[in-house]
């Protein structure tokens, strides 16, 4: 083995040792941070107050990006991406606060850091989607839910069709395609978000 090879070997040993120590240190840090997030709020099951009003403020804020109630914890991440955390609201299902990431004036991510997400048990965290879907910014092809039956359905179908016809369409469907790079989707035939609209008009 030449002196050069020996030095190279030493270098690699030092390099990988240092890298391992670094990774372990990062891992410990992350584990510590995770503990803080996994706070489990006690639910109040006999108060069936819908969470929609409370969470609505957070999510609307997130989707519109105007953030009137944002607590002002602005931090720059990855250059132009800014993160905001909304106020915390109490709901029967736990505390809710929304966090958004904004890039170039557009919301690029919505998360709810307040709700615990440690498996196997966690609280269902609601995302208000109607605005997102109607704005054509959701990559969701269908919503699975309990069946709508005749009466509620008829009214909603009529309204969905009316809404679609208003836009000069023959049919409606729920998700305007915003798949990135989907050459097949034609904006003029992009269907109205009938399912979320149906949901929102039903209540």
């Amino acid at each position: 083995m030449t002196p050069f090879q020996k030095n190279l070997q030493k270098f690699f040993i030092f390099f990988f040792t240092a890298a391992s120590v670094g990774i372990v240190a990062i891992g410990i840090n992350r584990a510590k941070n995770a503990k803080g997030i996994n706070y489990v709020p006690t639910p109040a099951p006999d108060q069936p107050t819908p969470a929609q009003n409370n969470t609505g403020t957070g999510a609307t804020t997130a989707t519109t990006g105007t953030a009137p109630s944002v607590q002002g914890t602005t931090q720059a991440a990855n250059g132009a991406v800014l993160a905001y955390t909304g106020s915390t609201y109490q709901t029967p299902y736990g505390n809710v606060s929304a966090a958004i990431k904004v890039k170039d004036g557009k919301v690029v991510a919505v998360t709810m850091p307040q709700l615990p997400d440690s498996p196997p048990s966690l609280y269902a965290q609601p995302y208000l989607i109607s605005q997102a879907l109607q704005a054509g910014s959701a990559n969701i092809q269908g919503v699975s839910g309990a069946t709508y039956t005749s009466l509620a359905f008829k009214a909603s179908l009529e309204s969905a069709i009316a809404a679609a016809q208003k836009q000069g369409q023959k049919v409606t469907a729920q998700t305007p395609s915003v798949q990135t790079g989907s050459a097949a989707s034609n904006p003029t035939t992009a269907p109205a978000p009938s399912v979320p609209r149906r949901y929102s008009e039903d209540d």
């Binding site: 029967p92 005749s150 409606t172 798949q179 149906r198």
Partner: protein, 308 residues
């Protein structure tokens, strides 16, 4: 571009049926959709408890006499009885009598006999395709029928590279969505119909959510919903919403419905035996799901972040 993503909605069985087809030209799609709609309408005409002309209604008013039925009806009622046996009667097609007495569906102004007949009172004659119900017994196989219709309508789309049929929240997917992507299916929040609680990516699978939050009402001061535990003849509680993913929509729907009816302990035990991915929301908002479901999950944040 002759092929692309096509969306069509038709109305059958009292629900909106939303079909999405990928990689098929518009003309062929219209023919396939028409075929699928026909299948749904045939199911509706045969199995509706809301139509006086339906075969099911004829059976329900056969008043204790042997009644000749179609092979389709015979098979569906047999299937319902098998499920009733498996669940010790928690699921029972005789629920039709309870629902009718609430004014939900036919027969009109129905007063159920006491004691209420159960699945054990249904007798079959396999050689003549005759079903004999107890006097005053009203069957409602709807929870099986709709997802069966979805699976059979899916055959109308055979050969289509990718498609999804969404009938009132019960969904069958085949192949891939655009650009080889999985079908992203969100799960409705049972507490707020405008919200979702999660999403998952699936292909070649059915997904169904059963819940106590859509069909409900009040009768004689008592709140009821359409899922009635026939062991107690009361609307069940404990689980707000059950979502199951399975190879067929029928299996997904059946398991989701049975989970609600069986309640938390028995329902989860049954799901664990099937090994199917499941996601439950309990009355207190707590979520129960298995690892198989977690493997399919897609963070909602990723789905609503792709701004146009």
């Amino acid at each position: 571009m002759t092929t692309g993503t096509l969306h069509r909605v038709f109305h059958s069985m009292g629900i909106a049926v939303h079909c999405t087809l990928v990689g098929i030209n518009a003309k062929e799609a219209e023919e396939r959709i028409a075929e699928a709609e026909k299948i749904f309408n045939e199911f509706d005409l045969r199995f509706s408890r809301f139509k006086e002309t339906s075969e099911l209604h004829q059976l329900n008013v056969s008043a204790g006499k042997a009644h000749k039925v179609s092979i389709e009806m015979f098979q569906v009622i047999k299937k319902c009885v098998a499920l009733a046996e498996q669940t010790s009667g928690a699921f029972d097609p005789s629920v039709g009598g309870v629902l009718a007495s609430y004014g939900y569906g036919l027969p009109k102004d129905f007063t159920p006999p006491s004691p209420l007949p159960t699945y054990r009172d249904i007798s079959f004659n396999d050689s003549t395709l005759e079903i004999t119900l107890a006097s005053g017994q009203v069957l409602e196989p709807a929870s099986v029928v709709k997802s069966m219709a979805i699976d059979i309508a899916a055959q109308a789309f055979r050969g289509v590279p990718g498609f999804m049929i969404n009938a009132g929240g019960d969904i069958m997917t085949h192949g891939k969505f655009e650009d080889g992507a999985l079908w992203n299916i969100a799960i409705q929040d049972p507490r707020d119909p405008r919200a979702i609680v999660g999403a998952l990516g699936i292909e070649n699978a059915g997904i169904a959510t059963s819940g106590v939050y859509q069909t409900h009402g009040e009768s004689k001061g008592q709140k009821w919903h359409h899922l009635v535990d026939m062991r107690t003849q009361e609307s069940t509680s404990g689980i707000l919403s059950a979502t199951v993913v399975a190879p067929t929509c029928e299996q997904a729907d059946t398991e989701a419905t049975l989970t609600i009816l069986l309640g938390i302990t028995d329902g989860i035990a049954r799901l664990e035996r099937t090994g199917l991915p499941y996601f439950l929301i309990l009355n207190d908002g707590l979520v129960k799901k298995n690892a198989a479901f977690a493997a399919l999950e897609v963070p909602v944040g990723n789905l609503i972040s792709k701004s146009a």
